[in-house]
């Protein structure tokens, strides 16, 4: 056991400041344990979201020493405990209280993305055949736990607050999972280009770096979607062809 200091952001929609707490850190403790211990010892109204405490639900996202991370998967002994550990809420979303932010925008965005629309079943009993090789990529995307760390780190949302024009890496991954689903027949390219702002992404790969599920967000989801959009809307030959046919 060693005593460690934690600078935790306390505040609400009106603003806030860091409060320093000292608590005992034992072997294997994660930052979420430390926050809970502080809550039980001295700050019962310290607000924090959490559920599974095993990196599977994506609730306890925060910025630890400035990096977007899951509190339940960040071991204290991996941090320099000779200095205070800074714990603050996600920056890309408005604070509700302390470490809890208003992530409702994400749920509203998802609702606007066209749902899964399968082709007719392959078999009489209403089922389909799919080969494992054909779903490996989609399964990678479906590992997403919706922690929104990728949304938090993305400068388009974090620094430029383009929440109205850009859906963020999480929903490019979601769209990619639908677009690359072997059974899906829906077309989502037009809105990706027009209203969902895929062009804003300039492939800095920050989202891929922070993903706790190690999804290769940029390379496997966003770039292929960009390619499809470019292919559809910016290919000069196709553009000419559309003009000749009188389609806009």
């Amino acid at each position: 056991m060693i005593a460690a200091k934690f600078n935790v952001w306390r505040g609400d929609t009106g603003g806030g400041a860091f409060t320093t707490y000292t608590t005992q850190i034992g072997e294997g403790m994660v930052v979420l344990d430390a926050v809970h211990q502080i809550q039980a010892e001295s700050a019962p109204d310290l607000a924090v979201r959490w559920n599974c405490k095993a990196g599977k639900c994506g609730s306890c996202s925060a910025e630890i020493n400035g990096k977007p991370r899951l509190m339940c998967m960040t071991r204290c002994e991996d941090l320099p405990l000779d200095q205070p550990v800074t714990v603050q809420p996600l920056k890309a979303f408005k604070p509700i209280k302390d470490l809890v932010t208003d992530v409702s925008w994400n749920f509203a965005v998802k609702k606007k993305i066209k749902p899964f629309k399968p082709r007719p079943p392959d078999h009489q009993d209403g089922t389909w055949s799919m080969q494992q090789e054909d779903i490996d990529r989609v399964q990678e995307f479906r590992k997403c736990i919706e922690c929104f760390l990728c949304q938090d780190v993305c400068h388009v949302l974090r620094d430029h607050a383009k929440h109205d024009e850009f859906i963020g890496p999480r929903f490019f991954v979601h769209t990619a999972a639908l677009e690359m689903h072997p059974l899906d027949t829906e077309d989502r390219l037009s809105e990706l280009q027009k209203t969902q702002g895929i062009g804003y992404c300039n492939i800095t790969k920050c989202c891929t770096v922070v993903c706790p599920e190690h999804i290769t967000i940029t390379d496997n989801a966003i770039i292929p979607l960009k390619e499809r959009v470019v292919d559809r809307f910016y290919d000069p030959l196709k553009k000419l062809w559309r003009k000749l046919l009188g389609k806009s």
């Binding site: 039980a40 019962p44 607000a47 599974c52 990196g55 599977k56 639900c57 609730s59 899964f116 399964q139």
Partner: protein, 611 residues
């Protein structure tokens, strides 16, 4: 704000209110909506974070994709035997018959299960299931299911109320009329008026110190139903999953999927011995491997081989692990060894194979314990995982004894009897979530809205605010009460039980109630975890009492209920179900009711399929 009741809460109206947004709640909401009802869905957390997300191994359904010998009859027989024949047989029948359709339906809604070589849904082995039966996605099946239901559900016109906790059901002349709740964000009170309510709140794991369950699992639905006059049955049957993490201390209790054993993982004691071969129950002996080699062949799909003893039912494996630990043959941190790395002796590509089949286990141990499971054994021990007991419901409609109140998933009782088989929970919540939603919508169509007594709502709000209002004078810390209760429940009504300890726990609950009456929550109503924990205490104490009283009254050992003073089964108790209900004076009343007897054709199915 006192006095003026209209200013104290906002009102929402739905035909059907679903409380809980895990798999059962989402499935119920989807079905109720499809049935033409306006549906409100209340989640204690954000949508998609419920405990279903933690389910790892798979969903049990006799699709017979991997082994053609499987069918609903075998699944039914397996479920009844695993439950020690105190299940509600009709639920076990419906579950086995309907699970395949519910799984196929998920695929139509976008779920992407792992595949067989011929392109169909792959199925894996699990404890107590005769054939490979669990449809899965690596070891994150629950995530796949909840995300599929969530993404399908949000396009169905369901009103989702996130981070809202229901504290009380409101009745009108004995039938359901609404529910009172608060939102976490601002601490505002919400009155939900509904013609029918579906409880899908999950379990009670937070009543114990070592648990795989999250903070939400405080027995809310069990308590809401009990307070409304519904009956709870089978509450003595708590499932301690045999394999939870034991080290480091902060991760103690986190689940290690049974899928590890399904893929060939073995249990060893400190002497390196595979101790599960030492104790194989007679009724499972004909189906259990006689040596390690046969067990390995079974895990690799050899249809002529029988399953290894590591895949016996969870209650039995948990007790064997406890026996090794108590006999001083445990691992350094008080567990036993679970080893999957040994398969490198059998498979050249073992490392990649393990990472592919058990990716989240690999990361969980790597990141939280610094252990590489492809190279070294894990340390595991039993963890509180699931409660078989819950609200007594009609097997077909899932309606409780309170008119208009339905329950599905873990909060409902009956399907699993004395012990649940792994994988039967995910199928349970699909099958009975759908049924509850369907019948709730039907009920809502046939009945008009009841009225809610304003005085009752007002009084409840005043009680809820008390911990904040008295905080200035000091009092009990809610986290401390919860912690002490968990420790005591673990020690006195845990895996191995006896009369004196359980009676002591029943007595101790009075003093916990006194402490809870003095609980304080400094701060205001805005996202105040101290206040939320204070309000959860009533539920934790109610389910703790139900468990302790039910367990103390069953003087035999069966499934998840093991007593050192009565270590054997007693045929007399095998015909009885324990039931608790709130008496007219407010005290908990316990009785035993007969286990429903199944018709002869069901007996025949069981006889044919348990040889």
């Amino acid at each position: 704000m006192a006095g003026d009741s209209t200013a104290r809460y906002t009102t929402h109206e739905h035909d059907v209110l679903v409380i809980g947004a895990g798999g059962a709640g989402l499935r119920a909401a989807i079905e109720a909506s499809a049935g033409g009802a306006s549906v409100g869905l209340v989640c204690k957390s954000l949508l998609g974070k419920a405990h279903t997300v933690m389910a790892e191994g798979g969903v049990a359904a006799a699709l017979a994709n991997v082994d053609q010998r499987d069918g609903w009859q075998v699944h039914f027989a397996d479920t009844m035997r695993g439950g020690q024949y105190v299940n509600q047989w009709r639920m076990a029948q419906l579950h086995a018959q309907e699970a395949p359709d519910r799984v196929r339906e998920l695929e139509a809604w976008g779920a992407v299960f792992d595949r067989t070589k011929d392109g169909r849904i792959l199925q894996r082995n699990f404890g107590g299931h005769r054939y490979p039966r669990l449809a899965h996605v690596g070891d994150r099946t629950g995530l796949e299911m909840i995300r599929t239901l969530q993404d399908h559900g949000v396009h169905r016109g369901i009103d989702v109320h996130m981070e809202v906790t229901v504290v009380r059901l409101l009745l009108d002349g004995g039938r359901v009329a609404g529910a009172l709740a608060y939102d976490r964000e601002r601490g505002r009170f919400r009155l939900f008026r509904a013609k029918a309510i579906v409880l899908a709140t999950g379990g009670i794991g937070r009543a114990y110190e070592i648990t795989s369950n999250s903070w939400e699992y405080t027995g809310d639905g069990h308590t809401l139903a009990y307070d409304a006059g519904a009956e709870l049955i089978d509450m003595e049957y708590v499932q301690f999953h045999p394999t939870g993490m034991v080290w480091p201390p902060s991760v103690r209790g986190i689940l290690v999927t049974e899928g590890v054993r399904g893929e060939g993982g073995v249990l060893r004691n400190s002497a390196g011995k595979r101790f599960m071969f030492d104790d194989i129950p007679d009724n499972y002996r004909p189906q259990t491997a006689s040596d390690p080699e046969e067990g390995w062949r079974y895990t690799q799909g050899d249809k002529s081989a029988r399953r290894p003893p590591e895949l016996l039912t969870r209650d039995h494996v948990a007790r064997c692990i406890m026996r090794e630990i108590k006999a001083g043959r445990g691992s350094p941190h008080g567990g036993v060894f679970l080893d999957i790395s040994w398969i490198k002796q059998k498979l050249g590509s073992a490392r990649e194979h393990i990472k592919k089949k058990l990716p989240s286990m690999y990361h969980q141990f790597k990141e939280l314990a610094g252990i590489d499971i492809t190279a070294e054994p894990m340390e595991v021990g039993p963890t509180t995982h699931y409660v078989m007991g819950g609200v007594r419901v009609d097997s077909d409609s899932q309606m409780s004894t309170v008119p208009g109140l339905f329950a599905a998933g873990e909060v409902a009782a009956g399907l699993h009897g004395a012990n649940r088989l792994g994988g039967n929970s995910l199928s349970d919540l699909l099958v009975f979530g759908k049924r509850a939603g369907e019948y709730a919508a039907r009920w809502a169509k046939e009945h008009s809205a009841g009225s809610v007594a304003a005085g009752e709502v007002d009084a409840a709000i005043t009680r809820m605010l008390a911990p904040i209002e008295r905080a200035a004078h000091g009092g009990e810390n809610p986290f401390a009460i919860q912690h002490d209760l968990q420790k005591e429940m673990q020690a006195l009504v845990g895996i191995v039980r006896n009369q004196a300890e359980m009676d002591r726990m029943v007595d101790r609950l009075a003093s916990y109630r006194q402490r809870a009456a003095k609980v304080v929550a400094p701060g205001n109503r805005e996202y105040n975890p101290g206040w939320h924990s204070a309000l959860d205490l009533h539920c934790l104490l109610t389910v703790s009492e139900a468990i302790a009283r039910s367990a103390a009254a069953r003087r035999e050992s069966r499934g998840g209920h093991f007593r050192e003073d009565f270590p054997d089964k007693d045929a007399k108790f095998g015909k009885l179900t324990t039931m608790v209900k709130k008496g007219p004076d407010g005290s908990m009343q316990l009785s035993h009711v007969p286990v429903p007897q199944w018709p002869a054709e069901m007996q025949k199915i069981m006889d044919e399929n348990t040889k």
